[in-house]
Symmetry: C2
Subunit: 184 residues, 2 copies
């Protein structure tokens, strides 16, 4: 076994986020992983759909356990919690050089199981961020508003970075995020 499941799903994540679900052909995936198309069906009997599902599951797990975990860390100040989240996001998106998985996966037919997974991740993110903001002293409605707005801004920045092939604006928005969110 040359590649572990974890390694393969990591590669799949990269392929799907750059080509989108439809654009990620098995040929591209096979070349990226170094496995033959048939071999991929050994790892993922459900085919392309199962690969995408594995990618989304892993992304959601990463989001929950890495990026959002600091938000619940009571040893950190509210500002440092947000800074920690921003740092993880910066790493995941490679400072804006990699585009958004949610975006790439959800383009195409709606109502698919993929869409449910992406929506779940987005809702989780919003909820956790809002919760961290209430802990910072904001009222529930205001906290949720700010959280939603911040995530919207991040999504937009990723689109902008991809279209313009320029990651700078994304980095800036991420850097300003903690201050912006806590500004009274």
């Amino acid at each position: 076994m040359a590649l572990s499941e974890e390694q393969i799903v990591a590669i799949l994540t990269d392929v799907f986020r750059t080509h989108g679900y439809q654009g990620a052909s098995l040929q591209i995936i096979a070349k990226a992983t170094g496995l033959a198309r048939a071999s991929l069906y050994h790892r993922f009997p459900g085919g392309k759909a199962e690969m995408a599902e594995a990618v989304m599951k892993r992304a959601q797990a990463w989001l929950e356990m890495e990026a959002l975990a600091p938000l619940r860390d009571e040893a950190l100040s509210p500002r440092d919690r947000l800074r920690a989240m921003a740092k993880h996001l910066d790493a995941f998106y490679e400072s804006g050089r990699k585009s958004c998985l949610l975006d790439a996966m959800s383009i195409g037919e709606p109502g698919s199981s993929l869409c449910r997974l992406t929506r779940g991740a987005l809702d989780l993110w919003t909820r956790e961020l809002a919760s961290a903001l209430t802990a910072a002293g904001f009222g529930p409605a205001e906290a949720r508003d700010r959280a939603e707005r911040a995530i919207t801004l991040i999504q937009g920045a990723l689109v902008m970075a991809r279209v313009r092939e320029n990651p700078a604006p994304f980095r800036q928005i991420l850097a300003e995020l903690p201050e912006q969110l806590l500004r009274t």
Copy 2:
């Protein structure tokens, strides 16, 4: 000739924005337009790429002559100029029910001619909006910052609306946009 070129490109716009460039197969396009695949090649000898180009050209023309024109209307107050733009955007995106053309077109391989067109539209938009903000009294750097931020927010809201299948946040962001942009 049952359908005019304008009508066809309008239909193509809708197909491309909902399926993305890769996901919009000629079969889907043929069904949507009511024309046989071969007939489409009579209208667009360059095939799918030319169809996409026509869509982007039309979108850019619409952006310039409809959505951005009010920004230069000296008979309007700065606030009303922004309100007019927001109104046009709301119509184009059908209050968030339709997803973003730039986003759907630019996912996939970068460096294509499509990417150049999308980037051009985005740059035009940013420039015009920033110009309107300088006319409203902001310094050039501040105006550009605000313009970029507003467009980023809109893009993000469109992604959020698509993923969550809920256009409400998009409508809200668009409604708040004029006040937000002019807030000193």
